[in-house]
């Protein structure tokens, strides 16, 4: 390593593929392909024209309309409520699962790990129809319940697909735990539970935050599974946007989409930052 660092810097090294123009062009083209549609979508949410193709000047009218639209507001509050509650439940279940798998050796452990991988490998559509059948036929979720309770079926569906993601994030964090700390606490007379709460849980905290934000974004973003579990009174933001899209391409949809993009990107950036600062601390 040090020898290599001391060598005089070659112009572009033989492996510095990014310095070659065909590859630069390729990467630029891919970036254009990925970003052009999203950027035009965001830019045209400020366009003062209903027809939405040619730039007619800057306006915030569509944002005002979106923010005043009662059914969109209702859908947005539903989405946030579902995301918050399902995140709390997913973090609790995910943390318990992670601790269990990290700490213990027990029969059927491989079976449990297999069951946890179901949300990752089973196609979303299959999960969606399974929840549809479950919540309409097997355990019919009462539709007449007062507001937050009528979201119960969607919350349960969201927890069941997101808690195994939380478990794998927290488990990865636990891998860096120094077991000697736990032994020291036990030797100094702390009980099993005291050790868990005072020594292990504080170490897990960045993983819990990152996992929680992941669960929150998964829930806020989910369309397919929610589409099958939501009823007329329990519309979420993506389900509402979907019904607007089916209708037509309008600047209001652009404005609503831009808001959702900004929220999810900000949350994910925060999650990565938390994980990043965590990795930085470990390296020290």
């Amino acid at each position: 390593m040090t020898d290599a660092a001391r060598l005089p810097k070659p112009k572009p090294g033989p492996l510095d593929y990014l310095a070659r123009w065909p590859l630069r062009l390729w990467v630029a083209g891919t970036a254009l392909f990925l970003y052009a549609p999203l950027i035009t979508l965001m830019v045209f949410s400020f366009n003062n024209s209903r027809r939405n193709i040619v730039w007619r000047g800057f306006t915030l009218d569509y944002y005002a309309q979106v923010l005043q639209d009662e059914s969109l507001q209702h859908a947005f509050v539903n989405s946030l409520t579902i995301a918050l509650v399902s995140t709390v439940l997913s973090v609790i279940l995910g943390a318990a699962t992670a601790l269990l798998l990290w700490r213990f050796r027990f029969p059927f452990k491989a079976g449990l790990e297999g069951a946890l991988s179901i949300p990752i490998v089973v196609p979303e559509i299959c999960m969606g129809v399974a929840f549809l059948v479950f919540f309409t036929k097997v355990v019919p979720w009462p539709t007449a319940l007062p507001w937050p309770l009528n979201l119960g079926a969607i919350i349960i569906a969201h927890v069941s697909f997101s808690f195994s993601f939380v478990a794998s994030v927290v488990r990865a964090r636990l891998a860096s735990f120094n077991r000697e700390m736990e032994e020291a606490a036990r030797d100094l007379g702390a009980s099993e539970w005291r050790t868990l709460m005072d020594i292990i849980v504080p170490h897990m905290r960045p993983g819990l935050f990152a996992g929680g934000l992941l669960a929150f974004t998964l829930s806020l973003d989910d369309f397919v599974i929610t589409f099958f579990t939501s009823g007329p009174d329990t519309i979420t933001f993506p389900v509402k946007v979907y019904s607007m899209i089916r209708f037509s391409v309008t600047p209001e949809v652009n404005a609503a989409s831009t808001l959702l993009i900004v929220i999810t990107v900000a949350l994910t950036a925060l999650a990565l930052r938390l994980q990043g600062s965590d990795a930085g601390r470990d390296a020290l």
Partner: protein, 305 residues
């Protein structure tokens, strides 16, 4: 760091039981039970309007083998394979550029690939609709070019091009495959990058020093070494494409429906749950087969994921 040694559960029964109870109950009640129930339904039939009788019949599976549904399943598979192939061809050079970039630009390039991946699937699909539709940006831009060209040709008295006919870019098979590539590309790039990032660069340098060209090095050294990454990239692109619902629903036309759309119709409009359940499980079996096939490409004892 101390080696993490798992202790047998009998060592701390109380803690074990309290950690186990919640997740296992939840898994059984709200994940395994719903899946088990539709698996059961797939062997039943509808009686009357709402009643479903499970009588162990294979009629639903036989119905699924009807040429109509078989051709939709085949079409889904072709779309998914095509999507995966395009993602691999487009994504491999991108992953290579990221791997061999300088560390500071590498972080930015990774962010560049990740950012659209965090954006809602529905919104990305909608963004593509606005680009592709008859009055969309592509057609407006092409119309503008066409207008300019016909103006130039007319003033030069070369030819009259006539009016511009917008291209049909939306509501067809092309739009579905493009949409799937658009949505799945980051899924392909990330595993490719993490596989190539791990490979020993001195092997590449040795190949180049010994006189192999860059292309030969690519195909005889980089590709074989990155095979586990390619296999997992193919898997994480193929599976969601195969079960895609939203992309064909919003971008596809009448003849570009995929298997997920047929499943949705059985559960909503057509109200034939047992048949929809059978189709769901056929899709799941195909998915599991793909995963099993992928594990053949992964070296034993290799890292998962």
């Amino acid at each position: 760091m101390a080696e993490n040694v798992e202790e047998p559960w009998t060592q701390a029964r109380g803690m074990f039981a309290s950690l186990l109870a919640g997740p296992v109950l939840f898994l059984f009640a709200f994940l395994l039970a719903p899946l088990a129930i539709i698996w059961g339904y797939s062997f039943g039939h509808t009686q009357g309007l709402k009643e479903i009788v499970v009588d162990g019949t294979f009629a639903n599976y036989a119905h699924a083998l009807n040429p109509l549904y078989l051709s939709i399943l085949l079409k889904s598979f072709v779309f998914a394979v095509l999507t995966t192939g395009i993602c691999l061809v487009v994504g491999f050079p991108v992953a290579m550029a990221i791997t061999f970039a300088k560390p500071q630009s590498r972080a930015w390039l990774l962010l560049l690939i990740m950012l659209p991946f965090w954006t809602n699937l529905l919104i990305r699909t909608y963004a593509l609709m606005a680009v592709l539709r008859t009055q969309g940006y592509v057609n407006v831009f092409l119309g503008f070019l066409w207008g300019g060209l016909s103006h130039v040709l007319a003033t030069l008295h070369v030819a009259h091009l006539g009016a511009f006919h917008p291209l049909d870019l939306l509501y067809n098979n092309f739009a579905v495959v493009l949409g799937l590539v658009y949505v799945q590309l980051p899924f392909m790039v990330l595993p490719l990058y993490s596989a190539m990032d791990r490979l020993d660069r001195s092997l590449l340098e040795a190949s180049l020093d010994l006189g192999a060209g860059h292309l030969r090095t690519l195909f005889q050294v980089v590709v074989p070494l990155a095979m586990p990454g390619i296999a997992s990239g193919v898997l994480v692109t193929l599976i969601p494409s195969l079960g895609a619902f939203l992309t064909p629903d919003l971008l596809g036309g009448v003849d570009s429906q995929m298997i997920a759309n047929v499943i949705e119709r059985q559960f909503k409009a057509a109200n034939d749950w047992p048949f929809g359940a059978a189709l769901s499980f056929l899709l799941m079996y195909v998915t599991f087969a793909a995963i099993a096939l992928q594990s053949l490409f992964t070296p034993k004892g290799g890292r998962r994921g």
